[in-house]
Symmetry: D2
Subunit: 286 residues, 4 copies
């Protein structure tokens, strides 16, 4: 978990010699002590990815100077980069509809200190789960959606999200399709849980599809939402064993456990700044 | 594992009261002692499935009388049924192309007494794996296939299989598509291993497809071959975790382990008479 | 899930021919329609186990007559048996201390209709989780335990449990050791979750033990409580992957997920009358 | 897999600022291009671990100069370190007794290019598996062991191993206990597969122990051999699900699959220089 006096830099760029040394030297020079680092080179694409988590306690300079220095190195190597500080918790919004298991799971994990964020608010197209929100003292905003009101309601949602300085949106079994415009405001910052092992059974009623096909494993997939429905970069997946004894209702029940696990792992990875997106795929550092 | 003086009956029929009692009473009346029984009712389809494994040592009558009696009960309840005796090992043919890991796996498991069958012969469209067959003393038959010779060669293969009294054909990474006519000779008696988690990545080069999509689990699927390619009744499936670090070659390597496990479990279940097929799905008793 | 007009019989006895036929015939004779049946013969011990789930809708007689008839067959075959009716939900008590994840999990699964029971009450040696109980409208009883008061408090607990007609006690991370006397009142009716892969790391602080040993998987074990601490019949187990990166705190976090899954699966199996205990081992039908 | 013109450095030392920069700078200065790097800090022990895999193609200097430079940095930071070059395959010896499944698995994986090593020879206390060795063209040496001859035979084995320049010994179900003296010659270079989920069921006949205890998962553990039997640093573990239906023979059968997977993963990790040992635990980089 992130501690107050730490920071994490995420970097990606075309692979080139000297990258690792340049960043390590820079941080050392500023008095930042590397606590963990992970890197990956996609040799097919010739692309380099790195995550560096470091301690700021001994910083000789200040954050502004550090960021300026990183920016200079980044310019030299054509890096895309971002930095997150441990003393600024990201702010999360959870979108739900009628199903509560993923919502409860996120709220409970947050309370158990598993998710380093503030759960700023919950958005729903129904008032059904308002009681759950209340139990955890989290603001609950209802935006009913019809084909006619959708554009307008999304606009209102976006205003709320912006006003609340939301960093991450989690679609915890939110049953509305977000518009491309909405998604465009939060690139790689909206995580959805799809209740199937994508790309199998994309679209609606995946457990029913799985039942009809007679599969022997069902799964769940957490991915970043993109304008291509069910086709965004996959963050995490898992499956559970099913047999001929399982009815469609059993698949739904067993699926809930996988959904919870996969969604919470993906959200946690995002909050710990362990994910980089590249060409519709993710690098997820351990 | 099946012992010489045992038999197994597999039964399926529309569900109706008295089914279980009728069969249990019949077997008891003939002096057959039930060792294991498993049943399943598909409540949506209203269909009943049962497997009874029993000891013949105390049989008052003979096999003919027993089968006649079962046939009578079966007629009364519109049952489809079949019986297998432990003193008659099923005869298996393995079809391969150039890849040897599934072939080795089946041969070694057979030698370790994991697969209750005789491996009568190996068929291939290449001579490449002849040496493996030789090591295990198994006849190896080469039938090169071209679009022109396919029909003729399949005919020759069918003659060989019939002459060799083959009960089960295992496609252990056999890279030729069998004709509908060929498959029709062995309904629910041809097991194929597909190197993906079907229905995801059906068709060719599934590991490459999986790599491009950026999935976090890859899998394998054992299914009965039908005329709908990659769409037959699924017998078993499993997956293994992959990460951004895995190249297409790594997926192939990790996939081999899953293919081996899934294929051998499916073959073993078939040989132990634990599988019933119903409407493109399988009931696989434990 | 159990429906009102169904019943389940669990039977175990020395193996003998005719057992299956006798019970199937009996049920058929009374007009009970078998919906599911599963049986197992422990060939080493020569012992037979069966679970029969049946529909009472067409019963010609009544429950008393049915039970009398089963009792007669049971006497003939030296069977231990019990019957459970779908219209009488078992009553469960949950024992907790300070940790809430298993408690929440059981309460939420119950509300999602995953656990066919009434959660009659919660017992704790602390008042800490009273708020959780209140959210779900479940009575919460506090019995503080000291070495001096233990005997007396257990007596009071037993009175409460008896008065509340409790069928099953679930120790959901209850951190007090129950006396042999207490356990003797509920043989094979107290389920405990141990946060390790027993028999590894029995005793206290299992995650810390696991961390020190450097294992690469940690697990959880649900078992019936017996007077031999951590040594009762195992109902279910599972593990999760850990690495050198995981601190003791990470093990605790990852372990919570396994504990929840394993405990809820075990409780569900018990409530569905799918477990038989024999010589410190369990038969758990699917 | 390691390519000819690459090298891997493994480093461990007390944690201190500047470590990462010092090594990265050094390699960059010599013209070595980092392909992959992974690091870990054990914050409890205050110890730092790193693996750097790099390309030597652009080396300005030579290997001697590079090693001298690393040695200097290592001295400054009290590092333990070693380097391995991709153009020098490690040489492996496999020790077996009567069981062949792990031996076959290693030989087949080696032939499928999964294990970057030379399998120099096989040692056994029996002649039983000589035929397998012959099939793969691998020298097979028999050293029968009795209590009287053990010391002498181990001496002969050590001479053979030294003469053959063996880097890694794999005990692939070798049923003799090696002496402390023998093990002392190959610290952290002898990998054993134990057929249980250690520390559960240490000692003999683990599957039988597991059967008697009635566990619901069985496992296997690959670990470095130390003088404390079954107590060396764990490299990898895994489990498989078992049920009441599984006889001791079934546990042995299911266990073979886990043994194969776990042992081969551990051997592969060692051969790819991804393992560091510290205080009876391992750091295994992905």
């Amino acid at each position: 978990m992130s501690a107050p006096r730490t920071a994490t830099v995420l970097v990606s760029c075309p692979d080139r010699p000297g990258l690792v040394a340049a960043l390590a030297q820079l941080l050392y020079g500023h008095g930042a002590n590397i606590l963990a680092a992970d890197q990956h080179t996609d040799t097919e694409a010739g692309h380099f990815f790195q995550r560096i988590h470091f301690d700021l306690t001994g910083l000789h300079t200040d954050r502004h100077a550090l960021e300026t220095a990183i920016g200079e190195v980044a310019g030299r190597f054509e890096m895309r980069w971002r930095i997150a500080y441990g003393d600024r918790l990201p702010r999360m919004a959870i979108f739900v509809s009628r199903t509560d298991h993923c919502l409860y799971d996120l709220l409970l994990r947050h309370r158990a200190d598993e998710l380093p964020c503030e759960i700023a608010l919950i958005v729903s197209n129904h008032d059904r789960l308002a009681g759950v929100a209340e139990q955890f003292g989290t603001p609950y905003h209802v935006f009913p959606i019809t084909p006619e009101t959708k554009a307008e309601q999304e606009k209102a949602e976006l205003e709320l999200l912006e006003r609340s300085e939301i960093d991450l949106i989690v679609l915890a079994r939110y049953m509305q399709v977000l518009s491309g415009d909405f998604i465009g405001h939060y690139p790689a910052r909206i995580i959805n849980i799809h209740h199937s092992f994508l790309p199998a059974f994309a679209g609606g009623r995946p457990y029913h599809q799985a039942y009809l096909r007679g599969v022997k494993r069902i799964g769940a997939t957490a991915h970043y939402a993109t304008t291509d429905l069910d086709d965004g970069p996959i963050i995490d997946q898992d499956v559970v064993r099913v047999t001929h004894r399982d009815s469609p209702a059993d698949l739904v029940r067993k699926g809930r456990d996988v959904e919870r696990l996969v969604l919470s792992r993906a959200v946690r990875a995002h909050l710990e700044d362990r994910i980089l997106v590249f060409e519709n795929k993710t690098v997820v550092f351990d």
